[in-house]
Symmetry: C2
Subunit: 243 residues, 2 copies
DNA sequence: GAGTGGTCTAGACCACGGT
DNA sequence: CCGTGGTCTAGACCACTCC
């Protein structure tokens, strides 16, 4: 479906790496060779290679070439910070097929005005109006996470409790209200409050993982601030960086 | 110090955003204007803008322009997955100035052969020899984290306990053994073992944050697998993605 | 020194947003 | 429609790795 040259080339090369045409620790053909093979400029090849590098499949070394990296293994519910548009979309992660049933229970839905303290928590402006939503996430029958969310009302004027029950991102996409531009995330571990320990299936644990996400519209303003608190031992957050 | 055009331009623009020449939610001058201003091609401008976007400072929208994003606030010990070369280098993070004293205690240092089970844990090959190192990290007098590390011996033949006591990455850089190419990380929350709870200053908590990092050499092979277990409430892991 | 990737230029056409 | 960023080409020079 992608009709960009560089994107096509990226997919082809990725397939060849996955199917061991280029095994780990080997060097890919040079950029010059690849441009000949695909009949494009070196520049276009470089964009495809850069995408492979961002995926963590290869690493390029000046003067040597493009090296295929060894793969690693892990087996939990992955929530990669990227491509994570809300909890409901998690089910579409290919690794997460074993989540048979994910339900959402809205615990709280109200309008709040951002005061000094909330502004520190959410980075919203003082005086802004926001929807405050609490949603309990139930995986295969156990309460595995709670989302505490603030949505700026200005950007989502008609939000209802029914939308919150479904996927808010689905709602945004369907209604074409705006586009989501970017997200910043901060991940921490915190000791749990009494209320949280009542709501979540923590077993013996007295801590939760916290993923705080700030989401931007394509006009540059923050429109969502969500803290997801999740139980230990069941979730992984993955990342990749090259230097 | 950087003598690349695009990198210079990136720093200049970043400074202008920080000092509010271009406030949040405004649009930067167009790429054409910027290329005129700096007397470079549009291509070079685009690279600088891409770097700003990777930093999470701006977001570009086709047909509209480059939007400056609103900043957010947070105040913990940051360990960004990127630029994190071992714990000792954490002190060089500008936000982390308040860590006055960080010491390391080596709890264990031995050679191991990777068997089936260790191979699953580390993604190293079966039969490889590795150094296994346990290091306790003490911040301002309290035991805040433990690192459980495996280093492939093949890549680090002469590693001694003294090197482990200092910064292993310092050692690698100084000895110019190889370059570090990339890292994959997986972040989780786990309930704690008895031994860990004895070693760490957990207070009431019975869980730890776990950051598992796989580090690659520039030849494409995995050379380190480290699990850092850290106490709750004191650390943040930051991320940024654009769509 | 031969070959690799890293940077940069000059110019072209397309797709999208706003009017 | 015009102006924006997105993609692509053709060709150049430099810095690095390896032999």
């Amino acid at each position: 479906m992608p009709k960009n040259l560089y994107s096509d080339i990226y997919h082809i090369l990725k397939g060849e790496i996955d199917s061991n045409v280029y095994p780990p620790k080997t060097i890919l053909p040079g950029e010059e060779d690849l441009s000949e093979r695909f009949s494009v400029t070196r520049n276009t090849i470089r964009r495809a290679l850069k995408k492979l590098q961002e995926d963590g499949l290869v690493y390029t070394v000046k003067g040597r070439g493009v090296v295929v990296l060894e793969p690693i293994v892990d087996n939990r519910v992955m929530f990669s910070a990227s491509n994570h548009f809300g909890f409901l979309d998690l089910m579409s992660f290919p690794q997460n097929k074993f989540i048979k049933k994910l339900t959402t229970k809205v615990l709280n839905f109200e309008e709040v005005v951002i005061d000094d303290e909330l502004s520190k928590r959410t980075s919203f402006g003082i005086g802004d109006t926001a929807y405050y939503v609490e949603r309990l996430r139930i995986f295969n029958g156990s309460a595995m996470a709670i989302d505490f969310s603030y949505f700026r009302k200005e950007n989502l004027p008609g939000l209802s409790i029914d939308d919150a029950q479904g996927s808010i991102y689905q709602y945004i996409r369907d209604e074409k209200i705006f586009k989501i531009a970017a997200a910043r995330s901060v991940s921490t571990v915190e000791t749990v409050s009494d209320r949280e320990s009542e709501l979540l299936d923590l077993k013996e644990a007295n801590c939760v993982g916290v993923l705080k996400r700030y989401v931007y519209t394509d006009l540059g303003n923050l429109f969502e601030c969500t803290e997801t608190k999740y139980v230990p031992n069941h979730f992984s957050l993955v990342g990749f960086e090259s230097y």
